[in-house]
């Protein structure tokens, strides 16, 4: 039984599984880019037909990255990573501490990178030369051994921890995204200039979310370049809590406002008419002059209420237009688009009146993306450490060099050897250059 458990654990911890899971994740992501995600059902039915639709739907292909099996892949990857790292970490820690080598100085010549020369100078006098020549391998520690002097150079120990820093970062990023999806929300608000709201429309569904504070839009500005391309969208807002103003900010793209962990991002805008001066001309009788506020009811005649419900800066190339709706006491509400620049247009009619727009003032509605993500700091921390860890793992190397100086017949016998944990081409070049320097020193005459 114990034997079986062990082999299962081995399998879950194996790097074979890691590579397989990485390949599976990559392959599923490819599918996710070929099948458009999160579209309306009808579109998929049209695109794939009912048979394929049902199959794809069963496997969650239309929201693949949030499907149970995609999450399972990520969970397995995390498990694999944890078990493998926990099992290997002790060995890495031991390697970090390892500066001695088995077998003593006589075994130095067994290393792939080694050099042995007989030199004229006495062992003590060679120490500064050794310090200088192998200084690239770290700071030396000298000790006495077997009647000679042994220098141990070591550097880049931390590189042994690189993989573990990286793997921990991957886990942190997974954890951060989990926290964000559980405790965070994403939504949207639309505020007209001068208006205030505390209600957020959530991206997940129709129900809204009430914030513990409200946000008022004082002014929205859009600036353009000479080419006509937009250069800036800016919402000047004020945050109010319990009736008191607690913050104010200008939100522009790439520079959100964050209050109490909720961030507001400039996302869209539209123009609206603030007030519209209307002239309603009946078939016979005196024209009625009205001042209508956007979306607010105004009484035309007893029992007949009218609203300005929509606005287009340019309706089908006929210039600005306002949409009017009338709500009679009896009968259905009805309405029409009124062209501002074409007062004679035959469609400028509602409920028996010919309508002209005498003048109007416009304002803006600003669309702000709203997000709260308590996991994002964990993610950012993971982002930082994954980069540091990758650098440690691959661009630092645990280098160890030993130099043994033993008295010879007249001078000294110098033996040097070294190993490294990664980046062999760099190490071997440094070592062979150092060896050449040593070999260039004055030899002991035979």
């Amino acid at each position: 039984m114990a034997e079986k458990d062990k082999s299962l654990l081995d399998r879950v911890a194996s790097v074979k599984l890691t590579v397989l899971l990485i390949a599976l994740l990559a392959a599923s992501s490819v599918i996710g880019t070929l099948v458009q995600q999160n579209q309306p059902k009808g579109l998929y039915l049209k695109q794939f037909g009912p048979g394929l639709f049902k199959l794809f739907d069963t496997f969650g292909l239309f929201d693949l990255y949030h499907s149970w099996w995609f999450r399972l892949l990520i969970a397995l990857l995390a498990l694999n990573l944890i078990i493998c790292s926990v099992r290997r970490l002790p060995k890495a820690l031991k390697l970090m501490r390892l500066e001695e080598f088995a077998g003593g100085p006589s075994k130095l010549t067994k290393f792939k990178n080694h050099v042995q020369v007989k030199l004229k100078a006495a062992p003590e006098d060679l120490k500064p030369e050794v310090d200088k020549t192998f200084g690239w391998a770290g700071r030396p520690r000298w000790g006495e051994l077997e009647g000679g002097h042994l220098a141990t150079f070591s550097s880049g120990k931390a590189s042994r921890l690189g993989p573990y820093v990286v793997h921990l970062s991957v886990l942190l990023i997974i954890l951060g995204s989990l926290i964000g999806s559980i405790f965070g929300f994403k939504g949207f608000v639309q505020i007209a200039e001068g208006e205030e709201t505390s209600r957020v429309m959530l991206n997940t569904g129709k129900e809204g979310l009430e914030l513990p504070f409200s946000i008022r839009l004082d002014k929205f500005t859009v600036k353009f370049y000479d080419t006509g391309a937009p250069s800036e969208f800016r919402s000047d807002v004020v945050v109010k809590e319990n009736g008191k103003q607690v913050a104010s900010a200008s939100i522009v793209v790439n520079d959100p406002l964050t209050y109490r962990g909720v961030s507001f991002y400039q996302s869209s805008y539209s123009a609206i008419p603030k007030t519209v001066d209307l002239k309603l001309i009946p078939k016979d009788g005196v024209p009625i002059l009205l001042k209508a506020r956007y979306r607010e009811p105004v009484e035309v005649e007893p029992g007949l209420v009218m609203r300005v419900v929509d606005f287009k800066e340019n309706l089908s190339n006929f210039g600005p237009a306002v949409a009017l709706m009338v709500f009679p006491k009896e009968g259905e509400p009805h309405g029409s688009w009124i062209l501002v620049k074409h007062p004679g247009f035959h469609g400028n009619r509602v409920h028996g009146y010919r309508v002209e727009v005498a003048s109007y003032t416009t304002g803006y509605v600003s669309g702000l993306q709203v997000a709260s993500d308590p996991g994002v700091w964990i993610i950012y921390f993971g982002f930082t450490t994954i980069i540091i860890g990758s650098y440690m793992a691959f661009f630092m190397s645990h280098v160890r060099v030993w130099v043994f100086l033993k008295p010879g017949k007249k001078g000294a016998v110098l033996t040097a050897a070294g190993t490294y944990s990664s980046n062999p081409i760099g190490f071997e070049r440094m070592f062979s250059e150092a060896a050449a320097l040593i070999e260039g020193l004055e030899r002991e005459s035979e």
Binding site: V19, I22, S29, L43, N254, Y265, Q266, F394
Partner: protein
């Protein structure tokens, strides 16, 4: 504009360097290799000047921004990155025969940037979403990484061409198989680190612009796929001990995925999407 004139000349200089390297490899002619290298150094220097000049020109137009904001500018920077990083690799490892592929890729990127008729080559003002230092860091990191992958792919192709033949040790001009394999790996290490930085900075940019650091859009997803392919290569090699042709093949696969991330997502997937809607 003067910068675009220099850049058109640079396009042909890259072709010249690629041909010189090719002659060097085919005829084992030392001098051609030298010409390739010094030609490449000259090309990259001229291109550096042109990029800086374009930057200055944008300020003269009153819409100053780093020249990394559209397809044209990113292709120019991408080819610069390939040239510059290859020069660094050649100086570090002292092998001249590996220049053919990178120089040719840099030429192709420049040729596409300079001669495609739909390419917008003039300096455009930045729309609000692009005004971000994270975006600049993102573009630079991604393209340096892509350059590493490009060089790796070139060496991997050379390795596979050589691996079939008997003569697999160093033949004077082309380094031995062990060195080639090591170089495929080293350049992937570099590329992967920079792609990691690129994805990270891109996702911080997305978060500051829209409040979402990751939204699984096709471009993001494909950059992750590329990252995963090279991640598989690293783990297969470090922990499973894969070597040689297998590693070379994954490097080429990763390069294909990288190309798709850059070009395919724009042209093929958006085509698919517009067809669907």
């Amino acid at each position: 504009m003067t910068s675009s004139l220099i850049l058109s000349v640079v396009t042909f200089l890259y072709l010249g360097a690629a041909l010189a390297y090719l002659i060097h490899v085919i005829f084992r002619w030392e001098l051609a290799g030298k010409a390739g290298f010094f030609g490449l150094v000259l090309t990259v220097a001229a291109q550096t000047g042109a990029i800086i000049l374009r930057w200055v020109e944008s300020y003269r137009l009153g819409i100053g921004h780093a020249p990394l904001s559209n397809l044209y500018e990113s292709l120019v920077f991408g080819s610069w990155a390939i040239g510059a990083i290859y020069i660094w690799v050649e100086m570090k490892y002292r092998h001249r025969a590996l220049g053919v592929f990178p120089a040719f890729c840099a030429f192709l990127a420049m040729a596409y940037a300079s001669f495609d008729k739909d390419m917008l080559r003039h300096i455009q003002p930045l729309v609000p979403a692009l005004k971000s230092n994270w975006l600049i860091a993102h573009v630079i990191a991604c393209f340096l990484g892509y350059a590493g992958f490009t060089i790796s792919c070139g060496i991997a192709i050379l390795y596979l061409l050589r691996a079939g033949k008997k003569e697999s040790s160093s033949s004077g001009i082309i380094p031995g198989n062990l060195v080639l394999e090591e170089l495929v790996y080293q350049t992937v290490l570099f590329g992967h680190l920079l792609l990691t930085v690129g994805i990270v900075t891109g996702s911080i940019w997305a978060n500051s612009a829209w409040g979402t650091y990751w939204s699984w859009d096709p471009k993001e997803t494909w950059s992750l796929i590329t990252w995963l392919i090279y991640l598989a290569l690293l783990h297969a090699r470090i922990v499973r001990g894969w070597r040689g042709s297998k590693i070379a093949v994954i490097s080429i696969l990763g390069f294909a995925s990288m190309l798709f991330t850059f070009f395919g997502v724009n042209f093929l997937l958006s085509g698919l999407h517009s067809y669907a809607s």
